[in-house]
């Protein structure tokens, strides 16, 4: 508040001194003197005056709007729609206000935006209209007078259309804008217009009309109105006189202009700064510097004061009238007041707008800006505006030089170039770039990109060539990026670019164009080009450098044949894998990235393509390394297409591997080997591992002792872990030492180190444990969140056992080694160990030590509670003194308050809350609330809410929300209901989330909700309707949820296992989340385990929609179809909506097993569940497929035909998509089915004019590479109808060749002509066979052939075509 009061006090103390800003001067004037500031035209016009007034106006409007809003919102809380618009409007208004306040100007864009959003808001109010109209004058120094006036007219008309009712204030505002913009208009017409609208002009209107007359020197007109005003007894103000000064001066009568001042005095009005300014401007416009000087002196001698902005106005007048030579004399008189810079900037902008840039620069250079600190740049606004106003390049370059010389700007040329580029001023930019080069600055390739972008948008080929030439001129070589991103996209094909560049001598000698060509074609998916390029290429190219573009291209064109060809070439050709890692690495990495770049749905959709690809690679004898294979495997796993893993696996180059054997087998083998004196290393390693996995420690140790000399590091690691698991500290330590002796640099896995620390600490081998910790540090063992948790448990275990020294030393070691930060959590055990022993003094001291060392206070609350319980007043005092000294009194008060609440000492707690000066600490309060909720401390929480009722700045709603959360947990609707009333009593307006929560509680308990529930627009993440109060462990549960959130499935699962062992039960939501995560990460068995655990703990536990969907998918994948069907049934019974994908997969799985009944069962189950979004075709396809699988092909076909030909069709024939059925039949090579299906498709097309099936079949054949079959289909008479249906088909080579053949056979010249025309128009390359046929047809018909007929025979071309199909180059 003090801060708010300060400026006011300053104002009051200052009184009304002459040096107050202009607008305040007017505000300070008595009520008898009406405000006249706004009645002057150019003189005292806007950029230099009146921000504060404007501002006040803006504020006032803003405030009104805000009131409207509040009224609205209190009436209709849910009225989100109108609110959004008004919000948007007030946002725009605020921007306008800020802009005026900070700079004294508005940009056109901003005004435009506000105008649009005002129009958008429907019915603009009078205030909004006023605001917009008033903004169109001198607040827009960057826009020419004419444009401003046009804009104000546009606003005026548009708002009127929208129903805004104008009053006199609007007309006056319009007049003012006219004056500011020196707009010539007829005052009498204006008055007539007002009269027509039935609006009475007022004094301000007359004053402004006088000014309008005076501006053009029409004293007669002005006098008429003046006369009129006198008759009406309207007061004549200073403003009128100032206007008259201008009027006489404009009429050329300076003498009378001067005389006005005398007249004024006679009528009792002393000339003020405005009048003098009018006079000064009048002299300036005449170029009369002497009189200006005299007048200025006169003003100085009087007690009047002209401000800098008045002088700036004078500069404008001189300059505009063509006397720039006097500008420097005025500049000398400037005193550089605090608000000078924005005013000067506005003048500079205005001068540039008026094409008076030289004066603008002069004013700019005179600006008092700090030139120290070489990195400050001033003048950007000037340069930018010059560029916008098309100032000539030579001038600009000169300005840049001057700015730089004056140390105002470090990089003016670069900045100007930036502006030119942004404004697409190509010529200016080119000149500036040359200037930059001449100045010795680097000219970089990307400077030209914005220019290329401009031409690219218009596909202006010549423009692009010109830019490339310009680049050449300044010696900049376009790089690959330039070609790929900015040049090539403008051309239809690469070849034409090459030719064009060559013609214009722009083709670079470097390789960049060639590579760019390749990259850009690759990205387009033109793999044919890529392959031929790579075959003939001589440029140095590596596989890796092409990776990104190739991947994009592969994904664009799913031509597996070309995929493999290209991969093979890159793999086998020495040109592309010269770098050391070699082709095997490169291909592996490429495959990894290829799959990684695809989305999971993409991989799923193209599963079959990828499979073919991998198999083709296999045939080409391409191999990848196993480690990369693992990466790919993980990817496929995470995409839920594990089915593909086996197909990648065939590419792996692997070492031989023994299949699993039991320990006894291995032992026998081992002994045999030993007897034969053969090496036993591998078998021994396996045996140890097997024994470890069998958890046979005794035997494992025996084997180790027996074959000690053949032991390897990894075996030791496994053994160490085994001993730790079996709590065998002695052997673990020995093994660790032997391990060390074997290889001192070997590093164990983090978990094994942690296991060692744990077991050693437990067995009192403190020093050894610490040594392990040290080793972890030295060897830089990675520490993860789980490791930190393990550290905590090690320490906490020791604390619970009461081992003070162990806790202390291990903690010390962990923290000082930097293995863990000394957080509150990890330091808990330091205090716990004393609390467990009941030694409160020691606990308190341990805490204080912690604070001194690490600035943390672990278990403060618990210690305090214990102290309060035991009534240890002295110790409480000690603790409190410490806290208030270290953390402040407020913290101390809260700590003790919570301790009292926790221990049920409510009276004492109440006293604390009555401490004067206590105020809300939201985070602390929330902490206690959460604690109460998790520990189900209802009474403590209720007391907290009760006692904080009068707490200063307390967020009551939030506290009630917490209380409701607890009630919800307990299903306590009666108490929740009471809260509703209590909140009304307390006059609290609940937030939406609180209302929703309350409504949920009531609804869950079948109670009526007594208020409108705000609707949810997003899915609330917390809904656990059926969780009942149970022993939940917050720490563990939170850990699970955290792990889930970070998608650490393994951590989460481990915590779950631990919780199971300790009999800790989670809430249903937690189980659900965990199950879902595990399913998502494809840990099926674990997920089922969690689900079963949840079912045993929580009666009626169910998974949610998403989890059930995942479950179905996982079950389908594992071929547990019956179980999946049960899951689906459960989900549907619960009225859930399983995902479309899950149901689809289940249906397809049954179909491929030929299980018609199950598919039909699902159809029955999901009927009515339309939200799943299954298409009706899925059942038709799959039932047919299932029937086909059962060798009931005829039944399947009969059914389909009936559906398509019977009168009552459920699905329209054009939506009757059978692609899936066709694809499956073709893929699985069910030959009779394929045959019968194609007969059916043809029959449907020929006899029933149902074309969809034949089209689908055709496309499937083409997609699956069965081109011949597709062609056969085309030669059937259905072809023409097909082409009519899908004209794009003609672009396929198979299609158009066959089409031409049919036309020749039918002697159908017109159709053939049309086809030829179509293909030529599309710029398609036609093969020779096609041309030969066409030529023959034309010749037979006696028509001219418009091209050279291919000379060879039909057989030749047909053979050629066939060959080229077989070996595409």
């Amino acid at each position: 508040m003090a801060a708010l009061l300060r400026p006011a006090r300053w104002l009051l103390a200052a009184g009304v001194p002459p040096r107050l800003p202009l607008s305040l001067r007017f505000l300070a004037a008595g009520p008898g003197r009406p405000r006249v500031v706004s009645c002057l035209p150019a003189a005292r016009a806007r950029p230099f005056a009146g921000e504060l007034l404007n501002q006040a106006r803006l504020y006032a409007i803003a405030a009104e709007r805000k009131n409207d809003l509040e009224e609205n919102s209190s009436h209709r809380r849910n009225a989100s729609f109108p609110r959004r618009d008004t919000d948007q409007f007030s946002w725009a208004l605020m921007r306008l206000d800020t802009s005026v306040r900070r700079t004294g100007r508005i940009t056109k864009g901003l005004l435009q935006k506000v105008f649009e959003s005002t129009c958008h808001s429907g019915n603009p109010s009078g205030n909004q209209a006023l605001l917009l109209l008033r903004s169109c004058g001198s607040l827009l120094p960057e826009i020419s007078f004419k444009e401003r006036t046009d804009f104000v007219h546009k606003i005026w008309d548009r708002l009127q259309e929208l129903g805004t009712v104008y009053d006199v204030s609007h007309y006056n505002a319009l007049l003012k804008v006219y004056l500011q913009n020196k707009y010539k208009f007829s005052p009498t017409d204006f008055l007539a217009k007002m009269e027509e609208a039935n609006i009475q002009p007022n004094r301000v209107t007359y004053q402004r009309l006088i000014a309008a007359y005076c501006n053009v020197g029409d004293i007669e007109g002005a006098s008429k109105i003046l006369e009129f005003m006198k008759n009406k007894d309207l007061p004549v103000t200073e403003g009128v006189f100032s206007a008259l000064v201008t009027g006489h001066a404009t009429a050329g009568d300076m003498e009378n202009a001067e005389n006005i001042l005398t007249v004024m005095r006679e009528t009792g009005i002393e000339p003020g700064p405005d009048t003098y300014l009018a006079l000064l401007n009048a002299y300036a416009e005449k170029g009369d510097i002497d009189h200006v000087k005299q007048t200025l002196e006169k003003v100085q001698k009087s007690d009047l004061y002209l401000m800098d902005r008045d002088l700036l106005q004078l500069i404008f007048s001189f300059s505009k009238a063509g006397y720039p030579q006097y500008v420097s004399e005025v500049l000398e008189k400037i005193t550089y007041e605090r608000r000078y810079i924005p005013d000067a900037m506005n003048l500079i902008l205005l001068l540039v707008t008026e094409k008076l840039e030289d004066t603008a620069l002069q004013v700019l250079l005179a600006c008092p800006v700090s030139r120290e600190g070489s990195l400050t740049n001033f003048g950007n606004f000037f340069l930018r505006h010059c560029v916008t106003m098309n100032t000539p390049a030579e001038k600009l370059i000169d300005y840049c030089k001057k700015l730089k010389d004056a140390q105002m700007h470090t990089t003016p040329l670069q900045f100007t170039l930036h502006c030119a580029l942004q404004g697409s001023k190509t010529d200016l930019a080119k000149t500036l770039i040359k200037a930059l080069k001449e100045e010795g600055f680097p000219v970089r390739t990307h400077y030209f990109w914005p220019l290329l972008v401009g031409h690219q948008k218009e596909r202006n080929v010549q423009g692009i060539i010109d830019i490339l030439k310009a680049m050449r001129e300044v010696g900049v070589e376009p790089d690959q990026e330039t070609y790929v991103n900015y040049v090539l996209p403008s051309f239809d094909n690469v070849e034409s670019v090459r030719v064009l560049l060559q013609e214009n001598e722009c083709l670079p000698e470097s390789t960049s164009f060639g590579i760019a060509e390749l990259r850009s074609e690759a990205v387009k998916g033109n793999l044919d080009f890529v392959l031929s390029f790579l075959k003939s290429n001589t440029l140095p190219l590596s596989f890796n450098s092409l990776r990104k573009s190739l991947i994009l291209g592969f994904r664009r064109s799913m031509n597996i044949h070309l995929w493999s060809k290209i991969t093979e070439l890159l793999y086998k050709d020495g040109r592309y894998c010269q770098e050391p890692p070699g082709p095997r690495e490169a291909v592996g990495y490429f495959l990894y990235n290829l799959i990684g770049s695809m989305s999971d749905s993409e991989v799923q959709a193209n599963e079959e393509h990828l499979r073919q690809y991998f198999h083709q690679l296999k045939e080409m004898n391409i191999k990848i390394y196993e480690n990369i294979y693992r990466g790919i495997r993980n990817l496929l796993d995470s995409y839920h297409v594990p089915e593909l893993i086996k197909d990648v696996n065939i590419l792996v180059e692997r070492e031989k591997r023994d299949s699993q054997k039991t320990s006894s087998d291995l032992e026998a083998t081992l002994e045999k080997l030993k007897d034969n004196n053969q090496p036993i290393g591998d078998v021994l390693k396996q045996l140890i591992l097997t024994l470890c996995s069998e958890e046979n420690m005794q035997k494992a140790l025996e084997v180790k002792t027996k074959y000690e000399s053949d032991m390897v590091v990894s075996s030791y690691a496994a053994l160490i872990n085994l001993c730790c698991r079996h709590d065998n500290a002695e052997d673990a330590l020995n093994l660790k030492q032997e391990f060390e002796r074997l290889d001192s640099s070997a590093v164990l896995h983090t978990n094994k180190y942690v296991g060692l620390v744990k077991v050693l600490g437990k067995h009192g081998k403190l020093q050894d444990a610490i040594n392990i910790l040290k080793e972890m540090k030295e060897k830089n063992v990675p520490i993860q969140d789980a490791t930190l948790l393990s550290f905590f448990h090690i320490l906490n275990g020791a604390a619970l056992r009461g081992e003070i020294e162990t806790v202390k030393q291990l903690h010390e070691a962990i923290v000082t080694l930097g293995l863990a930060k000394p957080s509150t959590n990890i330091s808990f055990p330091l205090v716990t160990v004393h609390l467990e022993k009941g030694d409160l003094l020691a606990a308190l001291e341990a805490m204080i030590v912690c604070y001194k060392k690490y600035k943390i206070l672990p278990r403060m609350h618990d210690v305090l509670c214990k102290l309060v319980e035991k009534g240890e007043t002295d110790l409480i005092q000690k603790a409190m003194d410490f806290v208030s000294q270290e953390q402040g009194e407020m913290t101390m008060l809260y700590d003790i308050f919570f301790a009292f609440l926790q221990t049920g000492n409510y009276k004492e707690a109440k006293k604390i809350m009555e401490t004067p000066g206590i105020r809300a600490r939201p985070t602390k309060l929330q902490w206690f609330c959460d604690r109460c909720i998790t520990n189900n401390k209802r009474e403590a929480l209720e007391k907290l809410v009760e006692l904080t009722q009068n707490l200063f700045e307390c967020d009551r709603d939030q506290l009630y929300y917490s209380l409701l959360k607890l009630y919800k947990k307990n299903g306590d609707w009666q108490r929740a209901d009471a809260i509703w009333n209590k909140m009304q009593e307390e006059n609290i307006i609940p937030r939406e989330k609180t209302l929703r929560l309350l409504a949920d509680i009531l609804k869950d308990n079948n109670q009526e909700v007594p208020f409108d529930v705000p609707e949810l627009w997003y899915d609330d993440d917390e809904h656990s309707p059926n969780s009942s109060p149970r022993p939940v462990d917050p720490l563990t549960e939170k850990a699970v949820l955290n792990a889930c959130q970070q998608r650490k499935n393994r951590d989460a699962y481990n915590i779950f296992l631990r919780a199971q062992r300790q009999n800790i039960i989670f809430s249903s939501d937690t189980y659900r989340t965990l199950t879902q995560l595990l399913l998502l990460t494809d840990n099926f068995t674990q997920a089922i385990e969690v689900k079963m655990a949840a079912e045993t703990h929580i009666k009626g536990f169910t998974l949610n929609d998403a989890a059930n969907s995942f479950l179905i998918i996982a079950q389908v994948r594992r071929d547990y179809l019956k179980e999946a069907l049960t899951t689906l049934k459960t989900a549907l019974d619960l009225d859930q909506t399983p995902s479309k994908l899950s149901v689809t997969r289940l249906i397809q799985a049954f179909a491929s097993k030929g299980d018609v009944q199950s598919v039909e069962a699902i159809q029955k189950m999901v009927s009515g569940h339309d939200s799943i979004g299954l298409s009706g075709m899925i059942f038709i396809n799959n039932i047919a497929l299932a029937q086909i699988k059962n060798n009931n092909i005829d039944v399947a076909i009969e059914n389909i035909e009936n559906m398509l030909t019977s009168g009552n069709q459920t699905i329209e024939s054009r939506y009757f998509g059978l692609s899936y059925l066709f694809r499956k039949a073709i893929e699985e090579q069910i030959e009779p089915a394929v045959e019968k299906l194609s007969i059916m498709a043809e029959r449907l097309a020929n006899q029933f004019a149902v074309y969809k099936p034949v089209t689908d079949l055709f496309l499937q054949l083409v997609q699956l590479g069965k081109v011949d079959d597709a062609r056969a289909l085309l030669q059937a008479p259905v072809l023409n109808s097909l082409l009519e249906l899908i004209p794009e088909l003609r672009e396929k080579e198979e299609a158009y060749t066959s089409a031409m053949k049919t036309y020749v056979l039918d002697n159908d010249v017109p159709s053939a002509k049309m086809l030829y025309k179509y293909l030529t128009a599309k710029n398609m390359k036609m093969n020779d066979l096609f041309l030969k046929r066409y030529a023959l047809l034309l010749k037979n018909a006696g028509e001219p052939v418009p091209f050279i007929e291919p000379p060879e025979s039909f057989e030749f071309y047909s053979k050629q075509l066939k060959e080229s199909k077989e070996n595409p180059s």
Partner: protein, 113 residues
């Protein structure tokens, strides 16, 4: 290359503690090259991403620099004056994002197992 795959995987793993600096206010005249020349003074950088807007042909003055070590990152961030092309740029540690994807530690183990 195997190493690079593993490195890629490791980079993936250490994603939320990866050493990335977010640089702002880069002058329009600079490209990734200029940044690559400037930042090695503070430590090895593995990647520098300065996205260009294909609609305007200009970049947006923001860049991500991947350092190979935490130390290098800290060196760079703690340095007061970074001047690129005569303009002072603003640098900060890229705020960590929670990794989208499978559990990181698992992923690494699967890779190295």
């Amino acid at each position: 290359m195997a190493a690079s795959v593993v490195r890629g995987a490791l980079a993936l793993c250490t994603n939320f503690t990866r050493q990335v600096a977010f640089v702002q206010k880069i002058p329009w005249t600079a490209t990734a090259d200029e940044l690559r020349k400037h930042f090695p003074h503070f430590g090895h950088i593995t990647k520098c991403i300065l996205p260009f807007d294909k609609e305007t042909g200009l970049h947006k003055g923001m860049c991500w620099i991947y350092f190979s070590s935490e130390e290098a990152l800290q060196n760079a961030v703690q340095h007061e004056n970074h001047v690129v092309d005569g303009v002072k740029v603003h640098i900060q540690v890229q705020k960590p994002k929670i990794l989208q994807g499978d559990q990181t530690s698992d992923e690494r183990e699967r890779f190295l197992r």
